[in-house]
C-alpha cells in the first residue's frame, strides 16, 4: 500500500520545469511578421485540435468504462447497472448532510469525518516528520542511526499498526488517527532528508563565504532548496493517508467513508459501495492536485 513512498522527486521537478519557461527566451521565439501581410490579427487562432486532443480521449476512456460496465451488468441481478447507480448517486448527493443517529449519516458527513482524521494524523506526521527529516539530512550520525529503523518500519502494512493504536489509546478514533500518522510520516521524513542532503554544495559554499548565520542559512538557503523535495513528501503522504483511512475505518467503525463502505456491504447496497469508490477516488485526486499546484508554486529552476 505504501509502495510508492520512495518515489523520486525528479518527476515533480520535471513537471515544474516544463511549466516555468524562462522569460528571457521569449524574443528569440517570436516569429518574423511577413511584410505583405494585411493588418495583423491580434489574437492567434485558437488551437482547437490541441484542445480536442486534451478533451476527447479522456471522455472516450470514461465512456468506454461505463459502456463495458453496462454491457456486463445487462443481465446481472446482483451487480447494479450504471443507470441504477447514477440514479442512486443523485439520491445520495441530494441530501449529503442528514444525520439519523451515529450509524446513518449523509455522505457529506462521512467524507468530512474521514478528512478530519486524515488532517489530524497527517498534520501530526508533518509536525514530527519534517523537522526530523531536516535533522536526519543535516547530521550524518543521526542518518546512520535512523535509516535502518526507517527501512524496517516503512514497508509495514498500515493495518498492522492499528492494534498498537487500539492498545495504547483504548479507543477507535485515536487508533485510526495513529495509523494515519505512522503511515504518512515516512515519505515526509525520507524526502525532506534527501532534499537536505542534495542541497547543492555550491549554495552551502556561498553561505560559508558570505559567513551567513545559521538562521540565514536555514531561511535563505536550506529551506527554499529543500521545499520542493519536502512538498513531494507531503504529497505522497497525503495520498498514503487517504489510502489508509478507508482501511482503518473499515476496522474501527464510526462515521467515515471507509466505515460507510463496510456498512453498505453489510446492507448489501452495492450501488452505495460503487458511489463510495468513486467518491474516494475523486477526493484523493483533489487532494493530490491541490498539493501538486502548491508544489509548482514553490519549485524553482536550477540555474
Amino acid at each position: 500500500m505504501v509502495s510508492a513512498v520512495f518515489h523520486s522527486p525528479t518527476q515533480a521537478m520535471l513537471d515544474a520545469k516544463s511549466a516555468v519557461k524562462p522569460v528571457g527566451a521569449a524574443p528569440a521565439e517570436a516569429k518574423p511578421v511577413p511584410p505583405a501581410a494585411p493588418a495583423p490579427s491580434l489574437k492567434p487562432p485558437y488551437d482547437w485540435p490541441a484542445l480536442g486532443m486534451k478533451v476527447f480521449p479522456p471522455l472516450i476512456g470514461i465512456a468506454l468504462l461505463i459502456g463495458i460496465w453496462a454491457l456486463l451488468t445487462m443481465k446481472s441481478t446482483t451487480f447494479p447497472t450504471p443507470a441504477a447507480t447514477f440514479a442512486e448517486a443523485v439520491k445520495v448527493f441530494s441530501d449529503p448532510f442528514y444525520s439519523k443517529g451515529p450509524n446513518d449519516q449523509g455522505i457529506g458527513w462521512n467524507i468530512l469525518f474521514s478528512l478530519e482524521r486524515v488532517a489530524l494524523g497527517f498534520g501530526m506526521a508533518a509536525l514530527v516528520g519534517i523537522p526530523l527529516g531536516f535533522m536526519i539530512g543535516r547530521f550524518e550520525v543521526l542518518s546512520r542511526m535512523v535509516s535502518p529503523l526507517i527501512s524496517l518500519l516503512r514497508p509495514v502494512s498500515p493495518l498492522a499498526w492499528l492494534p498498537i493504536g487500539l492498545l495504547v489509546f483504548k479507543a477507535a478514533n485515536p487508533a485510526a488517527i495513529w495509523t494515519i500518522f505512522i503511515c504518512s510520516i515516512w515519505p515526509m521524513i525520507i524526502n525532506t532528508a534527501v532534499g537536505v542532503q542534495r542541497v547543492p554544495a555550491d549554495y552551502l559554499n556561498v553561505a560559508r563565504v558570505l559567513n551567513l548565520s545559521e538562521w540565514k542559512v536555514f531561511t535563505k538557503i536550506l529551506f527554499p532548496a529543500v521545499l520542493p523535495y519536502m512538498l513531494t513528501g507531503v504529497r505522497l503522504s497525503v495520498s498514503t493517508a487517504w489510502l489508509v483511512i478507508v482501511a482503518a475505518e473499515m476496522l474501527t467503525g464510526g462515521v467515515g467513508i471507509g466505515f460507510w463502505v463496510w456498512d453498505e456491504w453489510n446492507n448489501l447496497n452495492v450501488q452505495h459501495i460503487l458511489i463510495a469508490i468513486f467518491v474516494i477516488g475523486v477526493v484523493g485526486l483533489l487532494l493530490e492536485q491541490l498539493l501538486v499546484s502548491v508544489a509548482k508554486r514553490f519549485t524553482y529552476d536550477e540555474v
Binding site: 516555468v20 524562462p22 522569460v23 528571457g24 547543492p200 555550491d202 549554495y203 559554499n205 556561498v206 560559508r208 563565504v209 558570505l210 559567513n211 551567513l212 548565520s213 540565514k216 535563505k220 538557503i221 527554499p224 524553482y300 529552476d301 536550477e302 540555474v303
Partner: protein, 266 residues
Amino acid sequence: MNNFIEVQHADMVFSTRKGRFHALRDINLTVAKGEFVTLIGHSGCGKSTLLNLIAGLTTPTEGTLLCDNREIAAPGPERAVVFQNHSLLPWLTCIENVQLAVERVFGAKESKAQLVARAKAALALVGMDHALTKRPHEISGGMKQRVGIARALAMEPKVLLLDEPFGALDALTRAHLQDELLKIVARTQSTTVMVTHDVDEAVLLSDRIVMMTNGPAATIGEILTVELERPRNRVELAEDSRYVHCRKEVLDFLYTRHGRIDKQAA
C-alpha cells in the same frame, strides 16, 4: 605590503574512496596588494584546489596560508569568491542575492536604505542595474555571472577570488566581461586571484601568471610577469610583441614542456 597573500609550503592530500590523492605539493606563492594573479594549468592540476585553499573553503594538509598576516582558517567575506557556475540562489532576485552578501558585512552598522543602495551600486558597477528584480532563471548566463561578480564586489573584499568565472560563457560575452573586469579591478584596486584555462584571458588580465604543472602532486612550474601597462586594450595588444611573447611563453609551458599526459601508465 608586498606579500598580502602568502602561501607557504602548502600541500593538499584528499582522502578518497580509492585511497589518498596528492593534489598539491609544496606550493609557495605570494601575492602583493592590488596585484592581479591568474592560475593557469591543465584541468585536474589543482588550480581550483589552490583557490579554495586561499578562500578557506578547504584547509591544507600541510603548510600555512596567510592573508594580511593572519592565518586563513575559514572562509570569510574579506575574501569574496566568484564561483565557476555563479551559484546565485534561484529563489532570490538579483538584488536580493547581492543584499544577502551586503547585509552580512555591513548590516550591523548601516541602515536598510544604505544596504539597498550598496547592493544597487554593486549591480550598477557590473551593468546589471536594469534587472534588479529579475530572478536568475530570467537572465542570460553572462548576466548571471555579472550578478555573481556584483555579489562578491558588494562585500568590498580585500581579495577577489575568481574560479574560472567566464568558463561557461561564449567567446564574445567572455571578452566583454573580461573588459568589464579590467575596468572594475582598475577602479576598486582589489587584489585578485583568478583561475583560468584560457591563455589570452590570463595574459590580458594578469600582472603575473602562475603556471602549474600537471597533477597528481601538482606544484607551481613557473611564474611569468606580464609587463604590459594598464589600461590594456585587447585589440591593440593583439599585435604587441610583448603580448605575443607572453602568450608564447604560456603556450610553450602548457603544451611543450608540460603537455597534458594522458594516462598511459594507469
